[in-house]
Amino acid sequence: MIEVSQLQKRFRLPRRKHKPSDDPREFDGYFHAVRDVSFQVAAGEVLGLLGPNGAGKTTTLRMLSTAIAPSQGRIQVDGVDLVADPLAARGRIGFLSGATGLYGRLTVAENIRYFGQAYGVPEAELAPRIAGLLERLDMLSYADRRVDALSAGMKQRAAIARTVIHAPRVLVLDEPTTGLDILGAEVVLDFMRDCLQQGVALVFSTHQLHEVEALCQRVCIINQGISRYQGSVAALREAGQGDLARGYLQQLEIVKPTPAAVDGEAAAVVALAGQEG
């Protein structure tokens, strides 16, 4: 469903930054945000994208969403080459980033309707789909309120609705629970489970390992623009001798593969890794 192979993305550095840098990703006048990332996600599968801040996760997801084009490499979504035909690919992808992408002066229902129409959902199907999403995401009570007046959790639900109104076959979510309280985060996770049951291929980035454990069959760990690990969550946990956090940090080469560490220590190192970059 999603095939990403040898993906690369570089950004031209400003002239003032052309001097030598300690960052191994800055060379030849470019910042190489993504240097070699590959992974696959099948229909009905969820892949967790892990990595410290600045690892290249968001850049990878933005390429998957077609917001930016890869410098090299190949992405296929639902059989469509994303670089060759981005317009066709967009109709198959739902992308949710840190920003909700909602228009504050429109109501929740108007926002969802607008995105549905823009994605070419037939008018006859649009009304039942909107009604279904409003009910499913528990938004009926504020469907006619302007988005500007909503809380962060309410906005996130509305953002999910606008992301999936065109029934995409692939969902790309960039840290979808960031900034949400426990209840809000649970709504998002429940929704992701629903999508999986409907056969959607889902890739999402997160710093929360409990979300990975709760949802993912497989993970891809990216560091410094390179995919370091792609495999099952179970194998990663096994490598960490029963501790997923330790297995993750081993892949980042932050801790060495030594006998089992205390859970608390590993959690502390995870927190430190999350603050990098």
């Binding site: 031209r12 967009r90 992808i93 992308f95 992408g101 504050g104 002066r105 995105f115 823009a118 302007r146």
Partner: protein
């Protein structure tokens, strides 16, 4: 594209700032500002005309007749001053407005037919030169009386005296009608009003649709729609241009209503304006509207480009202000004396629109020039829109860090 355009318009109509610039400013604020300025200028001019000017004269015994005339002139008040050396300081201290220094044997020499000079001391670094106006009237009349008296004394007949006073008299027979004369004034001002009001209204909308969307994080979701970038740009461009056109239309309607009601008390001015407005039929209105369309298209394309390029609302606002200054220059060119639309100026963007609107109001438009104006302005608008679409495809522009 129509879905995006409809959404943009819905959002704009719910944005208080856009509504203020699109409807309130052109309908109320601008006419009030312009009308208020005109009333204030009129009031100040009247006050200046009524002002009593204090003056001093040195050598008055040399010009008793002139002095009588000055004293008989209303709103002049003579004050004493020690010596001519005090004149400069007295004017600076505003104790007097002017001083006259009469040379020795002044009237005696004049009676013998010799030309004489009077010294008028005053500060002429003023916008309304009241002293010069009043003293020039007085000295002209005095000089004319002296000349008539002198020529009578020489035994010259009426016809010879008239010949010596003014051998050649120019009698002007203007071919311009009232519409052309008033149109020259109104027509020069109208494009400035239409374009600047359109620009300020469009700017608020454009900044909201480009840099505003970047700041709110909605631009990315818009770019991910399965629509060609050219359609997105076109939808935003149409919405911005429409705001400018509506604002310009509201301004003209409002100014017309305010102007007519203000001129009700002034029969002459009202009649002249009626002649101008009466001369402008539906065809002329349509032509002005036709010209405003490509002008607004140029403005909308420029504003959208800078708004998409800017990283933030603040940055876009700063670019917008610079653009406003740049656009004022070609409009002001049309206000220069004796500027008229010809086959050369018809190629200069914005200036050509301003000149063409003036020609339409005056009723002197040449169709060949109009064709060049429409063609060149439309081409410039098209090029700018293409450039805007090109920018909208570039990641470096859309996601500038």
């Amino acid at each position: 594209m129509w879905t995006v355009l409809r959404k943009e318009l819905t959002e704009l109509l719910r944005d208080r700032r856009t509504l203020i610039f699109m409807l309130l400013m052109p309908a109320l604020v601008m006419p009030l500002l312009i009308g208020g300025f005109a009333l204030l200028a009129n009031y100040k001019a009247e006050q200046e005309a009524k002002r009593v000017l204090r003056y001093a004269v040195f050598g008055s015994e040399q010009a008793p007749e002139l002095l009588r005339r000055i004293e008989a002139t209303p709103r002049l008040e003579r004050v004493g001053l020690g010596s001519p050396d005090e004149i400069r300081q007295a004017i600076k201290d505003e104790r007097i407005s002017f001083a006259l220094v009469v040379p020795a044997g002044f009237e005696q020499q004049l009676q013998q037919g010799r030309a004489m000079a009077l010294e008028l001391h005053y500060n002429n670094a003023v916008s309304v030169d009241t002293v010069a106006q009043r003293m020039r009237t007085l000295s002209t009349q005095y000089g004319e009386d002296l000349r008539q008296r002198f020529m009578s004394g020489q035994g010259l007949g009426e016809e010879t005296r008239r010949f010596l006073a003014q051998p050649v008299r120019l009698e002007v027979r203007s071919t311009a009608n009232e519409r052309e004369r008033i149109g020259e004034l109104v027509g020069a001002f109208l494009p400035y009003l239409l374009l600047m009001i359109g620009l300020s209204a469009s700017m608020a909308a454009a900044i909201d649709m480009g840099a505003g969307e970047k700041e709110r994080g909605t631009l990315e979701s818009l770019l991910l729609l399965p629509l060609p970038r050219s359609h997105l740009v076109l939808a935003k461009f149409l919405a911005i241009a429409l705001v400018g056109i509506v604002a310009a239309g509201v301004a003209v309607t409002s100014m017309g209503i305010w102007g007519m009601s203000l001129l009700k008390g002034n029969a002459a001015a009202g009649a002249a304006l009626s002649q101008v407005i009466g001369g402008i039929g539906w065809r002329e209105f349509a032509l002005v509207a036709l010209l405003i369309l490509p002008a607004n298209a140029i403005i909308a394309a420029l504003l959208l480009t800078i708004s998409l390029y800017a990283r933030s609302y603040k940055e876009a606002g700063s670019y917008g202000s610079q653009l406003m200054i740049l656009l004022i220059m070609p409009i002001l060119l049309a206000l220069l004396p004796n500027m008229r639309l010809d086959s050369g100026w018809a190629w200069v963007p914005i200036t050509n629109i301003a000149l063409a609107v003036k020609e339409i109001v005056k009723g002197t438009l040449q169709w060949s020039d109009m064709a060049i104006v429409l063609g060149s302005t439309g081409a410039v608008a098209g090029l700018l829109l293409t450039a805007c679409t090109y920018f909208c495809r570039r990641e470096e522009v859309l996601f500038r860090a």
